[in-house]
Structure formats: structure tokens, C-alpha cells
């Protein structure tokens, strides 16, 4: 059935809920594009036949054209939705993506991600004074100044504003300024303890 490959791509992506990024289906994409090429070639042949009298082919030509449009739409939807998920990753994980996720991205997607990162960084630097404003911080409204955190893995020394350093060893607990910890919490180094 025409368009199955392309629809299959979209369906698989749709099933991966919660913004999860499944591996890039290069083979599926290649097959969908191949199907488009085959449909187009058959249409080319039939169009010249139709021009020389076989008007009964017009419906078939039109049908194939609809298949081509459907394929195009599904392929673009698949690729675009993946880009949106990858974009969300920048905001959730920061500029360095975990290896497990990078394995699921195609080379072109990685390139898109890098360009997006750069563009975002330029924008953030331009707003907010000399150092710029990191918009990926302060995601939630601040409730308290200091928070209890537990260290989930060894990180090493960490310096706070007033110059004191804290040694972040696995399972150690600290009472630290909220704004300094946000980045580390998102990276999974620290865990906010809610009593």
C-alpha cells in the first residue's frame, strides 16, 4: 500500500511519548523517498501516454500524485517533529547531550542542534547586560533562597559566591544557594531534598 513506509515513521514517532527521541530511521526514510521516486517515474511515463490519447490513465496519475503528496507530508512531519524534540533537549539537558541520546540522532540532526545552540547562545548573550542572561536557568519561580541538596555522584569542588568551596562527594548533603544549584540539579549531579 502506497505511503506505508512514511506513515510507519510517523506512527513510531507518535508512539514515543513524552518527548522521547527514538533512533533515527535512516533506512525507513530512504525507502519512503525511494517509493516517491518510483511513483514519480511511473507517473512521468503515464503522463506521456495520457497525452497521446489514453485519458483513462488520468485518475491513476492523480492517485499517484496524492500518494506523493502524502509521502512528502509524512516525511516532513517526521523530520520536523524530531527537530522539535531535539530542541526541547537543549532546554532540558543543556548544551551537552548525553551519549545515549546522541546515538539516536543523525549527523544532520546533530548539525541542526549545534546551529540552534549557537543561535540561542548569541541571543542570550545579547539580552541582559554584559554577561547576558541564561534563559535556561530560573525555570521555576524561586521559593526559598537556600535549598537542601544531596549529591548523587562525585563532582569535586564547587565554589559559592562568598568564596567558600564545598566538596561535592556522593551522598553528601549540603545547604546551598538555590541559584547556584539549578544547573547541577538539572544535570543530575545534585538532588533537591524536599522535606
Amino acid at each position: 500500500m502506497a505511503g506505508e513506509r512514511a506513515v510507519g515513521l510517523v506512527r513510531e514517532l507518535h508512539r514515543a511519548a513524552g518527548g522521547h527521541l527514538p533512533p533515527f530511521r535512516a533506512e525507513g526514510l530512504r525507502q519512503a523517498l525511494e517509493e516517491m521516486r518510483a511513483l514519480y517515474e511511473r507517473n512521468q511515463a503515464d503522463v506521456s501516454e495520457a497525452k497521446s490519447g489514453r485519458t483513462d490513465l488520468i485518475f491513476l496519475i492523480r492517485f499517484r500524485h496524492c500518494c506523493l503528496l502524502r509521502n512528502q507530508r509524512c516525511i516532513l512531519a517526521y523530520l520536523y517533529d524530531r527537530l522539535l524534540r531535539i530542541r526541547a533537549l537543549r532546554w532540558e539537558y543543556g548544551s551537552v547531550l548525553p551519549n545515549t541520546i546522541q546515538f539516536h540522532m543523525s549527523a544532520e540532526e546533530v548539525e541542526w542542534f549545534n546551529r540552534y545552540k549557537k543561535s540561542l547562545a548569541t541571543y542570550m548573550r545579547s539580552v541582559g547586560g554584559e554577561e547576558g542572561l541564561d534563559l535556561t536557568q530560573d525555570i521555576k519561580p524561586p521559593k526559598t533562597l537556600y535549598i537542601e541538596v544531596r549529591c548523587l555522584r562525585d563532582y569535586g569542588e564547587f565554589e559559592i559566591d562568598d568564596g567558600t568551596t564545598v566538596l561535592l562527594k556522593k551522598n553528601s548533603q549540603h545547604f546551598l544557594p538555590r541559584w547556584k544549584c539549578e544547573q547541577l540539579i538539572r544535570q543530575g549531579v545534585l538532588e533537591h531534598i524536599l522535606s
Binding site: Q72, L76, S119, L133, L135, D138
Partner: protein
């Protein structure tokens, strides 16, 4: 617009005064600019933030508010650096800084999300903007939007479109990417009384009718009907 010389956290006058030039001196009386107190500035920021959060489309950019808020935050940080350690006021001011920074970040993030979501429409609107009409994009946002568009277009072209049959290699992003839904309903509070607002009901059987918006009243209404009032500041989205 400039921010006047009053301390931000009202009761802590001593804090700001100790900061010295942490507050602007508005000695040039001949200035035509609108001078706001810091409290008014933050109020404007919050208004802009709420409007942006609840409006389905990207609203006018407010570069003056952003610039002033950033300046204020810098001044407050400066003051904090010079303050005595362990002073209770430090905590309160730091909390204030955190809150303001959160609102500013949230506001800018909200705009970025809309810019990315509706990028072909946002860029088209900016391109066809008349001279003198206010811009919905700051220059930096405009650059970001253009880069985003170029990045995405190039990606789609290289990965898929150029491998497609010749008559399908072009796709109109303007047609494919969904537009903001201006028919979505929003809650609003009326700040300035409005008369004779034309309402177009969804059902064809009902005829158009007009309503008056009393100051202080709250309504649930289609965004499209009151979009110009949001821009003019006559209503506040809540």
C-alpha cells in the same frame, strides 16, 4: 523611559542609599522621557509577562522595559556586593533579585517559544510591517528567528526535499507550519473603560452584537476580538 531614584524594596531605604549611585540621578529636568519608579517598572514587566503568557500570538516587543529591568538588576547586584555580610537585608534583596530575574526570564522564554513555534508567520508579519508600526520582534529576536528559519529550511532541504521528485522539492513553510489560534478564549481584566466592542459569535444564527467593557470587570472572550486592546494596554490578560 527611565527609572526614578526610589529604592525598590520600600522599607529598605537605607540599603539603596548606602549603594550610592545605585539609583539613577534624574537631574536633567528637561528630559522628555517617562520616568518610572522601580516599582512601576516591575509592574510593567509583570503586565507584559502575563499578557505574553496568555496571548496566543507573539505580542509587541518591549525593549525599553527589558533594558531598564536588566539595568535595575545589575544595580541591585552591585549594591548587594557592597553590603555587609550577614545583614538580613541581603537575603531579602537577593530574593527580590531572584524573583525579578525569574519573571524576566520567563517573559523572554515565552516569547522565544512563540517565535520558534510560529516562525514563518512571525517573520512574514515583520517583513510586511508598515513603517511606524511597532515591531513584534526585537533586533536580536529577529536575528534569532531568521537563523532558526534558515537552519530548519536547510535541514529539511538536505535531508529530504532535494531527494524528492522535482515538482515536490519546494514546500511553503508558511502553509505547513500552523498559525497561532487567534480564536482561542482568554481571560482579561479591564483597565480602561471601553465602549461598543464588536463581538462576533461563533454560531452563524446569532448576529454580531456590541458590548461595553467596564473598568475593573473581568471577562472570558475570544482573543481576536480584543487583540488591539491588549496592545494598547486597555485590558490585561489574566
Amino acid at each position: 523611559m527611565r527609572v526614578g531614584a526610589q529604592p525598590l524594596a520600600g522599607g529598605f531605604g537605607g540599603m539603596a542609599a548606602a549603594g550610592g549611585e545605585g539609583t539613577e540621578g534624574d537631574s536633567d529636568g528637561g528630559s522628555e522621557e517617562l520616568v518610572l519608579t522601580p516599582a512601576q517598572l516591575i509592574h510593567s514587566l509583570e503586565q507584559a509577562w502575563l499578557n505574553e503568557k496568555f496571548a496566543p500570538e507573539l505580542l509587541e516587543s518591549k525593549p525599553e522595559i527589558i533594558e531598564c529591568v536588566v539595568e535595575q538588576l545589575d544595580h541591585m547586584e552591585e549594591n548587594l556586593k557592597r553590603a555587609k555580610r550577614g545583614d538580613l537585608k541581603v537575603s531579602v534583596h537577593r530574593m527580590e533579585i531572584e524573583r525579578i530575574r525569574y519573571v524576566l526570564s520567563s517573559y523572554l522564554r515565552c516569547r522565544l517559544v512563540k517565535i520558534e513555534k510560529f516562525f514563518p508567520h512571525v517573520l512574514e508579519k515583520e517583513k510586511s510591517r508598515a513603517e511606524g508600526e511597532p515591531s513584534i520582534l526585537s533586533p536580536e529576536e529577529f536575528a534569532f528567528a531568521k537563523e532558526y528559519m534558515a537552519n530548519t529550511e536547510t535541514y529539511l532541504k538536505n535531508v529530504a526535499l532535494k531527494h524528492m521528485p522535482p515538482n515536490l522539492q519546494k514546500v511553503s513553510l508558511l502553509k505547513s507550519v500552523p498559525k497561532p489560534n487567534l480564536d482561542s478564549f482568554v481571560f482579561l481584566r479591564v483597565l480602561e473603560r471601553q465602549e461598543n466592542i464588536l463581538v462576533q459569535p461563533e454560531m452563524d444564527e446569532q448576529r454580531d452584537y456590541t458590548i461595553d467593557l467596564e473598568e475593573g470587570s473581568q471577562h472570558l472572550i475570544r482573543y481576536k476580538t480584543i487583540a488591539p486592546l491588549v496592545a494598547s494596554g486597555a485590558v490585561q490578560l489574566i
